[in-house]
Every structure is written in C-alpha cells, then in structure tokens.
C-alpha cells in the first residue's frame, strides 16, 4: 500500500513512534493474557493424576499418557472425524446459502424482503433450551435421529439470519455501478454475481467460513440431544461425557481432547488470514 507522505514535522515523528510503542505493548500484553490461561489448561493434559491445573508449573513430571489413552481407550478419533465431517459440510452449505441470500437482499427487491429476515432475527432471540425435545421428535419422524445430516440441517438453519444480514451489509459496500456495467455488457443474473461481485466479497466469505466451521466444534447441547450412539458423537459432546459424571471426571483426558480441537481451528484461521488482508480495493486481483 502506498503510504501518503505527510510533511516531516517533529511532533508527527514522535507521535508516530509513541504509537508504535503503544501498539506493540498492547499486542504483546494481550497475547500474554491470552496464552497464560491456555498454557495452564494445556499443562493439565500432560500431567499424571486427574485434575485441572490451578497454576502454571513448568517443571516435570510430564506424560503423554493422557493422549495415548484418548486415542486407545476412547472413541475420540472417531468423534474427531465426525466433527470434521459435520463442520465442513455445515461450512460449505451455510456459506453458500448466506452468500446467495445476502446477494439477493442487497441487489433485489422482492415481496417480504423487509420483514421476513427481521422476523427470524427476532424469533432467534428466544432461547430454545426448553424445547430441545422438539428437534428430537422431528428427527424421529423424518429419520434424522442419530444422523449427522439432521444436525447439520439445524446448525445451518440457526446460522442463516444473522449471517445473511452481515453478508448483505458487506454486499452493500460493493458499488452498484459494477452490476450495472456488467448488465450493459450483457451478463445475466448469475454471471454478474459469480464473476463480478463474488470476488469482491471474499474477505467476508472467509470470515463466514471460519464461523460456520467452528461452531460444531463447540456446540454440545443439540448434538447431545440428536446423536444417540457414542460412535456418532461430535468432539464436543464426546468430551462432555468425560466430565458429566461428577464422581468420575476424566478432566485430564478432557483437557487433552480440547487442545486437539483448538489446533485445526487456529490453523484454519492462519490460512484464511490472507483473505482478510486482500481488501476490497485489491479484491479484483486473483490470489
């Protein structure tokens, strides 16, 4: 990015230096505040005994026993595959659905446009914890009990309203002239969307993909209701079974499993970051 070069005035120089100092101080201290508690959690996974750590001890003894047990004595690897399956499917379908819907909301005028989305946004504020059985019976009726596809269906439905709204907001920042000139060049609805507009909203799609991918890793209430057999569990409700039993909590295994959840998500974010960086102005160029 070309930096605008202001006149060299001393005060500006000092303020810029101050800004640098503040920026790094802020980022580094925030990083410490984030990493410290997570390190404490992580160390629990490498300790013998069965307790969550209270503080950070960096002296031994260390053990990989908890991870070994996680993979040998529990269904954790299977849960992990299930979760990946659910997360990836949810991500693909949900991102597709909200991108299309967001585009429609931004570019078209149609019946019910103003009220319908708002209605669902408001209805979604009602916590459904009291009626989770509703999903159970629905799944029972249409053969979706203990099936990942039904869970995916509910996840996607819950994710649509807010994210469609955000997507619409993002589409709105793309100038309308682009569509119009594409139309003049004879592009149809779909080509305009696919070739002209879509590349410009890539950063938002990256953010959305990340959110959609992450949620199945942390959601355990619905999953617990809908998945009935242990071999179908997702990691979240699988790990819950380690700590549900008040008398026999396997917290060390729980911590080990949680660490392994954080890794792919952090990795994904690392790779999606370049999408955040390619801003709107650079959006037209590929890569």
């Amino acid at each position: 990015m070309a930096q605008f070069k202001p006149k060299k005035i001393r005060t500006q120089k000092t303020s810029r230096r101050l800004n640098k100092v503040f920026t790094y101080a802020y980022l580094i201290s925030l990083s410490i505040i984030i990493i410290y508690p997570l390190l404490i959690t992580a160390t629990s996974a490498f300790r013998a005994g069965n307790i969550l750590a209270f503080d950070l001890k960096l002296t031994g003894p260390w053990t990989l026993n908890n991870f070994r047990r996680l993979f040998q004595e529990t269904l954790y690897p299977q849960w992990y595959m299930n979760t990946l399956k659910v997360a990836i499917t949810t991500m693909v379908i949900q991102v597709t659905a909200i991108t299309l819907a967001g585009f429609a909301y931004s570019r078209y005028r149609f019946i019910g446009r103003k009220q319908s989305l708002k209605f669902f946004l408001i209805v979604q504020m009602v916590p459904t914890t009291a009626a989770l059985t509703a999903f159970y019976v629905m799944a029972l009726l249409i053969g979706g009990l203990d099936q990942h596809w039904f869970l995916i269906f509910v996840y996607i439905g819950g994710g649509i309203p807010m994210n469609t709204w955000l997507m619409k907001g993002y589409f709105d920042t793309v100038p309308l002239e682009l569509d119009e000139s594409a139309r003049l060049d004879g592009a149809g609805h779909f080509r305009t969307f696919w070739q002209i507009i879509l590349p410009l909203v890539r950063p938002m799609i990256a953010v959305q993909a990340l959110w959609a991918f992450m949620s199945p890793f942390g959601e355990y209430l619905l999953a617990r209701f809908l998945l009935r057999s242990p071999e179908n569990y997702t990691v979240a409700n699988g790990l819950q079974t380690f700590i549900n039993n008040q008398r026999d909590q396997r917290v060390a295994l729980f911590a080990a499993g949680a660490i392994l959840i954080a890794v792919p998500i952090a990795t994904l974010f690392f790779f999606l970051q370049k999408n955040f960086v390619s801003g709107l102005t650079a959006g037209g160029t590929k890569g």
Partner: protein, 438 residues
Amino acid sequence: MVSDWKKTKLGLITASAAFLLAACGGSGDSTESEAAAGGDTADTTQTSDAAGDFSGQTLKVTVGDDYTSFVESIIPSFEEEYGVTIELAEIDMFDNLEALPLDGPAGLGPDVMIAPYDRVGGLGLQGHLLEVELPDDGRYDSMDELQVTADATYFGSPFVIEALVMYYNKDLIDTAPTTFAELEALTEDERFAFASEAGKSTAFLANWVDFYNSYGLLAGFGGYVFGEEGTNITDVGLNTPEAIEAIEYAQKWFQEIWPQGMLDKTTSGNFIDDQFISGKTAAITNGPWGAASYRDGGVNYGVAPVPTLPNGEAYAPFAGGKAWVISSYSEVGELAQEWLNYVTNEENMMALFTDYTNEIPANQAARKQITDAGDNELAVAVIEQYNTAVPMPNIPEMAEVWTGAETMMFDAGSNNKTAEESANDSVEIIKQNIEQKY
C-alpha cells in the same frame, strides 16, 4: 413475482416429507416400537422357569465404558443358557438415563441399564422403570432393598455399593487417625502449614461445602434430611440442635484451620485432590472412585473408615451405589429380569471386583468373601463404612435439599451467618420450595 421454480422446489420437499412420514407409518402407535425393538413380544408367558421360553429374543444392554469389558465377559454364558442374543451398547450412564424418557417411547432405548441409587426411585415413580423382583437367596439385606425402593416397590437390583472413606498418605503419617481429635492435632504440625495463608493448615481436608460430603458429619451428630426414614417431607432435620452443633464444628474448620479456597464449591474437590497428590495433606475424605487418580499421581496411600466425630459417634455418610434397572418400554421384561438376577449373582460380582473395576459388590455373599479375605484395604474400608451409612432419600423432593444444604454450609463456613441462622434459613427455603413445587 413468484417463480415456478420455487413451486417445484417446495413441492419436492413436501413430497419427500410426506413420503418419509408415510414410511414411518405415523407415530405414537405401538407398531413402531415393536418394529424397533426387533423381538417378539413376551407378554403371553406366565412363569419363566424354563430357559426355552426366551429363545430367539434380543436383549439390549447399555452400560458406561467402565463396565463394557465386564459385561462382554459374562454375555456368552447367558446367551447360551437362554438361547438369546444380547446387543451391548456403550453410553455414559447419566446420558443414558437422561435420554430414557425420550428414547424409550421412541423404541430406541435399551432394555436394561445401570442407574445410581439416588436416581432409581425418581425414574421408577415417573414410570420409566419396570418393577423388579429381588431373588430370595440372601444376596441382599434390608438396607440394599431400601436403596431401590420407592413407593413400596422395587425398581432395580443392587449392583455395587459406595461410601465416603478416608485416604491417608503413608509417607506422611504412619497410622490412620481414628478420631477427629487426632486430625485436629495433626493441624498443629508445621509440615502441613499452608504456605500462602498464615496460620492455615492442610493436614486434613474434607469437601464440606458439598452436601454429599458433609452429610456424614451432620448425620453423625444426629441431624437428618427427612424424618421417618426419609419419607416425611414436612420434617427437615438440618436445623435440629444436633445438626447445628455439627455445623458449628464445620465452621471451626473453615474459619480457623482451612485455607479460604475450601469454601469455593466449584473447585474445592479439585483443590483437595491437588493438595493430596502433591503431598501437602495427610488425610482426606473421598469415595472409592478417587483411588485411581491418587495411584496415577504416585501417592503411597492407605484407606480407612472416616475417624469418629468429637461426640464419639461414627461418621455416617450417604450410602451410595448403583443398581441394574429395566426400562418400562422394554418388550422383553421377563428376560431382562433373568439378566438382572444373573449379573448380580455371587460369581459374576466377584469377577467384577477382582478382574474389572474393583468396585464393591452389593451382593452380600460376595461382600463377605471380600471382607474375609481382607487383602483389599479400600474394599474393606468401604464395606465397613457402608455399615454406618444412611441410604439417600429416594423421593423427588430430595432435589431441593442438595442446593439448600450447600448454601447452609457456605453461609456458616464463610461466617456470613451463625450456624443457627444459616441452618434455619436453609430449612425455611427447602420447605418453601417443596411446598411450592410439589
């Protein structure tokens, strides 16, 4: 403007939904659950002495992962004897019980499963469990029977028993303390002084903000939950003069001896384990389930009954344990009853104890064998402690007591209120909640 495309789409969806619904053959009627249970109904037989009655039936057994290998080992001979098939599923005990009210009617639940004693009565009274016949061969005494009784009906076969015991660190003290006076003397020992809080000691720790743990203290002094053997809900005995005396004694520990963290109910259990494993504590109270993590943590521990209280009475904790129960949605109830009798017989229970989970069998003959052998310190201590233990009230109103009693201990222990005030306030709230909810 509305497109035809949309109409087609909706049509397809409605069509497929209708098709699926039709395939289900409606719901709520019995055909569905019969099909799901996959066995022929066994409601025509009157008695079931002959093993041939059951041939061809399928029994669905669900246990938590801690019992899988045990059940797998005893399945073959049962299958052979009755000519049946057993399907074993591994689901966490609590998850499984929570799911029963839904899975049962949907025809997905198991026929037999395991439930902790304190859940048996409630599930039975809500109609999710079948009545069970207990064999008359002396395998249970009246206390065992009481554990699975609600409304004068047996809802399960006692399987294993548990009670709080004392663990002590053999590297720090030579012999197990036998009285609370000895424990108090230990707190003077410099080795157990708590580093970050002056004048505090971790010589002996007990999770007394948790009612399951503190009940033994209250009951030992003469307090109780509900009068008339846990059936009279209008008589809550947590604020009797004896109970208040017990609370005052606990208050002394919280205020003068223990670190502040012992009042923190979400982490105090964790704190106790941490201190014990790191060798800063001489003795603690915990159930038999705690042993494995102390062993993994490398503690050279011994086990003994909890010391006698200052008034000379024995510590009287809740008698806990688990029972085998039969789902009331089962189509093979009689076979399930046979399974219960088989699992809990002496031979299988000894196998569970020696080869699998080391839990103490409820079966009296097996229990006697273990006590006579006397080589398993933990088991002997639990069995001994169980004899002074009190069965948990088996009624739904018990739910109100757990939280109320926790608040009582916290308020007294943190000196927010006097022992008497906190006891009276808590009993007031417990009674009020029972009145308004039940």
